[in-house]
Symmetry: C2
Subunit: 124 residues, 2 copies
Amino acid sequence: MDETRQLIERFFAALESRDWAGFAEVLHPDVVYEIPQSRERIRGRDRYVQFNREFPGDWHLTPTSILVDAAAGVGRFDWRLGEGPIEEAFVFFGVSEGLLATVTDFWPEPYEPPPGREHLTERW
Amino acid sequence: MDETRQLIERFFAALESRDWAGFAEVLHPDVVYEIPQSRERIRGRDRYVQFNREFPGDWHLTPTSILVDAAAGVGRFDWRLGEGPIEEAFVFFGVSEGLLATVTDFWPEPYEPPPGREHLTERW
């Protein structure tokens, strides 16, 4: 479990510092990256590193919570693009052979609440 | 950690079976429920039970992954409304005094990918 947590911490730190060699070190050669919301998939370490290296804009991410078990983990993180607002996102990991073998991102977006529950909720 | 996992398993099972007494049993009296995407908050066990009890439609949820540490956890679950499609969602928990004291939901929605990464991605 400590190893899984360290992998995830290194994943975030390498991304934030654009340390592409260090980023590749925590990834399984056959890593599969998925974004279920857009039904996108990238296969393999080289392409996934390239995807991140090419990701446009002055992006920054800060992990706020990491939960792990032996072969899986999740990171909750704040994401900011340039001077834009801070958004919250999640990434789930699967571990194989001591490396991150699956990476699955989720990017929740703001929405207006449906009517009918104002008697119970407050807004912020 | 086993206790946290059991709390979360009971949370899901009670919701799915509309066992409102069992649902209340896993919640801290001062539980705070939040949906950051819609900036909604519900304070207190009674109101949060009522929110779920009143939630409209023939909804079903099935946990697919639970990760925990001593005082926190996350559940990934499939959600279906009536005959609608299965959607994936997440709920983060904080534990206090042996009960679920914070419950934070995220409901990611489908989106189309931005252009410029088709050379790396496949779609499904």
